[in-house]
């Protein structure tokens, strides 16, 4: 069985076996007469198994002869299952290579344990209205009667003095939420699931709890093989998993992204779960949000008090989110003596100052696909495709002799 990420060799054995068990062999179906066989070690198919073991050979020859025989110059056309006498027309090595270039075709399993049971096409009379209403769920916003409402507008130009800072963005988000509540009412707002979203989730957590959350995450980095979720559950026994996950995506990651967005000198993978920001920076982010809340209550829009906070802060050497965003660019090395080190596929961004031991690190330096060594992208039990067209259509000719695709 292929996985979206590969597994150990041990499990591979199991999965292949499982896959083999799954498949059904249907000698009567011309299209499906090929039993699937995935050699763990490709060479073992031809080298270790000799001609007496006909199965792999008959599979390969049947498969190729059936579909590609006339197009495959290196095999003889004489094949008849287990009676097959394989006479290479070219040196063994070439045949071996060409056989290896024809990966086995994974079959679609058939049987009562695979296909769905197709219902009869009923008439409207037979349908049960009560059942249907139940199945349609709960209507929150009814189908609109007109198309006259304006929709699709993006954000307007920001005219704030602290434009593009984290605080500015937060303010605008709050305004957007408030105007939405005004438009649709608080009840619908809640029913749409908009209540516990984004920074609003902070109100459900105390400052101490937030500090603790961040501490637990940073002291259990994945790079050290730790699982911070286990620790989080142990640290917050009264919190449900959903609450922890909610905080994680609505507050924790959001703040991290806010930092990443303002670090213009680094290419960041925003989907990297393990990208870590200096704890102090998060402190700043957290405290400024609480400061924000107080300031908003007082309707004070200036950020002068925030400025003072920054200069007095012992964290001045850290990347400061608001400062960064105001300046536009930050020269990380000047500010904080941080350096880049390449370690394996990780880019470790370490703060040489001894203030805190948390590291900047991310698996993938750039916002691209993960490198091929990453376990999520490769499928180790599938043979590589040297030429996909050959794989699809067979070598040389692209199915010109193939009558199988003609319709009924």
């Amino acid at each position: 069985m292929g996985l979206k990420r590969p597994f150990d060799a041990e499990e591979m054995q199991e999965c292949n076996a499982k896959h083999a068990r799954q498949l059904s062999y249907h000698p009567n179906q011309l299209d499906q007469s090929i039993p699937y066989h995935v050699p763990l070690d490709k060479s073992s198919v031809l080298v270790e198994k000799d001609l007496d073991t006909c199965a792999p050979f008959s599979w390969i020859s049947n498969g190729l002869c059936q579909e590609d025989a006339q197009t495959h110059s290196s095999l003889s056309h004489e094949s008849s299952g287990s009676d097959f006498t394989w006479t290479p027309l070219s040196p063994v090595e070439d045949v071996y290579t060409s056989l290896m270039n024809q990966p086995p075709r994974k079959q679609v399993p058939l049987g009562s344990n695979h296909q769905a049971s197709i219902p009869e096409c009923e008439t409207r009379v037979k349908t049960n209205d009560d059942v249907e209403r139940k199945l349609m769920g709960k209507c929150i916003i009814p189908m609109p009667e007109t198309d006259l409402c304006v929709a699709g507008q993006g954000r307007k130009e920001c005219l704030c003095l602290d434009k593009d800072t984290v605080r500015c963005v937060r303010r605008h988000i709050m305004e957007a939420r408030e105007s939405l509540i005004e438009a649709i009412g608080y009840e619908k707002f809640t029913e749409l699931g908009l209540c516990e979203m984004g920074d609003e989730v902070i109100s459900l957590w105390s400052e101490d709890e937030e500090d603790l959350f961040h501490k637990v995450v940073y002291s259990n980095p994945i790079s050290l093989g730790r699982d911070f979720w286990k620790q989080l559950k142990a640290t917050f026994p009264s919190r449900t998993m959903k609450e922890l996950v909610s905080y994680y995506f609505n507050v924790f990651i959001l703040r991290r992204r806010a930092t990443q967005n303002r670090l213009k000198t680094l290419d960041v993978d925003s989907d990297d779960d393990e990208w870590q920001v200096e704890y102090d920076v998060f402190c700043k982010g957290k405290s400024s949000s609480h400061v924000d809340n107080e300031e908003d209550d007082e309707e004070e829009e200036s950020n002068s008090s925030d400025d003072d906070e920054e200069e007095d802060s012992p964290d001045a050497h850290c990347v400061n989110m608001d400062k960064v965003s105001r300046d536009g660019e930050v020269n990380v090395e000047d500010d904080s003596c941080m350096s880049f080190e390449l370690q394996d596929s990780n880019l470790i961004f370490s703060n040489r100052e001894s203030h805190g031991s948390a590291l900047f690190s991310f698996d993938d330096a750039c916002d691209r696909r993960l490198p091929s060594s990453d376990c999520w992208t490769k499928n180790n039990n599938l043979l590589p495709t040297s030429n996909i067209m050959e794989e699809i259509f067979g070598k040389d000719e692209w199915g010109e002799n193939d009558d199988n695709l003609k319709g009924k």
Binding site: R105, R124, D147, G193, P384
Partner: protein, 470 residues
């Protein structure tokens, strides 16, 4: 407005016809978590939802919280042992449950047991079943469930991050009302679970565009065409890395047009897996959001009941962008590129825009390759002389709706051509005669099942019924 709407031989232009769109969203979906480091993040659905609402698209949609499908609903496809397993297993029971069960049902690795897993499945399945019911009842023209589209799940096992195949369940619901359903899958991975489920029937045609070769799940060969009664009713479009907008469109449009012509589906299900977008963490295609959405745009223009589902997508900010944009396409709105302020605004930095340019990736699919693939598949489709169980002479072809400008709200509906159990305006047997579609003239809802004298022959005679109460 998009200007590149051309490309088919039928009259084309901006697709302006309004559609009634029903959208399903489970508010707690974002709090389900597959596990540390796992690329599948249900939170992306919440991000999409936030964008959709802050773009004011909710003004153009019906929004429902889905019914949570129960074991009986899920058991309409999945085997009882598997459903019992899903229902009973939990992270705490990991020690108790036999390792054999985990292996048997393929749970534990790609498909980890996570807290609330069965509830998550119930919401996903409930959304797709609900979407199907909306279409069956003609309460909507398009029904969306971004929480669905989990196309790898099999009858008795989990696979590829999917546990319950909501798509199969949704299609089974549609099959109660529609004789032929076409399933189209644009996830970068082959839609194996759905194909397998319907491999032996001609009532569902499955079409999948996917990366093939050294890629999960390994099925989806061009020669997999179906079996038994379903032979030639499975279409597989195997592709190489680097698929771009233009190449994709050059395959999608002609093939789907042919599918619509020869198969004449009465309903369409489109799986919009967003891992075929450029820059996806697991994918290897190079589609832009617009290129991806062009598929939906094209299908929408047919005015056939359409179910739109989610699926893969592992660079979550792009998933949210894509599904938000596709929701806008469904309702007929072209949103601004500058994102509105929303709860997850920072996820979309540093550009904070809706559209993302494809990367400088090499397209390994040469024009010659694609021509070959296209011709092979068109030939396969040509073999389907007429749609199954429908005598040819009674079935007018499914065609694209003649286009209207978006802004013209005063328009008189142009005649629409519709196949299947449409209401005929006259007794004429003439295939060319335009038929009144689902909504009828002046927006009046017509009952699709009431028949004129030239109702096509069918095994199941359909009785005249009253129009559904709205």
């Amino acid at each position: 407005m998009d200007t590149d709407e051309s490309g088919v031989s039928l009259p084309s232009g901006p697709d302006g016809r309004k559609r009634r769109v029903s959208y399903f969203y489970e508010p707690t979906i974002g709090d389900y978590y597959y596990g540390q480091g796992h690329p599948m993040k249900p939170h992306r659905i919440r991000m999409a939802h936030s964008l959709i609402v802050h773009y004011n698209l909710h003004r153009r949609l019906e929004i429902s919280r889905p019914y949570l499908a129960d074991a009986a609903d899920i058991g309409r496809f999945h085997s009882p042992e598997y459903v019992d397993f899903l229902r009973s297993v939990s992270p705490e029971s990991l020690g108790d449950a036999s390792a054999r069960s985990f292996r048997r049902f393929n749970v534990g690795e790609d498909c980890p047991v996570f807290e609330g897993m069965f509830e998550f499945c119930r919401a996903s399945a409930g959304g797709s079943i609900g979407a199907a019911v909306k279409l069956n009842r003609q309460d909507a023209d398009i029904a969306i469930n971004w929480g669905g589209g989990l196309h790898h799940a099999k009858k008795s096992e989990a696979s590829g991050f999917c546990y319950v195949n909501d798509i199969v369940l949704g299609i089974l619901e549609l099959l109660k009302m529609f004789r032929r359903v076409v399933y189209i899958d644009i996830d970068v991975h082959h839609g194996d679970g759905v194909e397998e489920a319907f491999y032996t029937t001609d009532r569902v045609m499955t079409v999948s565009f996917h990366k093939f070769g050294d890629f999960f799940p390994g099925t989806g060969h061009i020669r997999d065409v179906g079996s038994e009664k379903g032979k030639y009713y499975a279409l597989n479009v195997p592709l190489n890395e680097g698929m771009d907008d233009e190449s994709f469109r050059s395959l999608f449009r002609p093939l789907i047009q042919k599918v619509m012509e020869v198969y004449q589906p009465e309903a369409v299900v489109l799986q919009c897996g967003a891992d075929s977008l450029s820059g996806d963490r697991l994918g290897c295609f190079n589609l832009s959001v617009k290129g991806h959405a062009d598929c939906l745009r094209f299908l929408r223009s047919y005015n056939v009941p359409l179910m739109v589902l989610g699926g893969g997508g592992y660079t979550i900010r792009n998933v949210a962008r894509c599904w938000c944009y596709e929701t806008a396409v469904a309702v007929g709105v072209e949103p601004d590129n500058k994102l509105p302020y929303n709860e997850y605004f920072e996820y979309f930095g540093p550009d904070y825009t809706l559209h993302v340019e494809p990367g400088p990736m090499e397209n390994l699919n040469t024009p010659k390759d694609m021509e070959k693939i296209r011709n092979t598949l068109l030939e396969q489709l040509s073999g389907l002389i007429h749609a199954p169980s429908v005598p040819f002479q009674h079935t007018p072809p499914v065609n694209r709706v003649l286009d209207e400008p978006e802004e013209d709200l005063e328009q008189r509906p142009k005649p629409r051509i519709w196949s299947g159990t449409a209401t005929y305006e006259s007794d004429s047997d003439d295939d060319e005669k335009p038929l009144v579609g689902l909504s009828g003239i002046d927006g009046q809802t017509m009952d699709r099942d009431s028949t004129g004298e030239d109702e096509m022959e069918d095994d199941n005679a359909e009785a005249e019924v009253d129009p559904p109460s709205s």
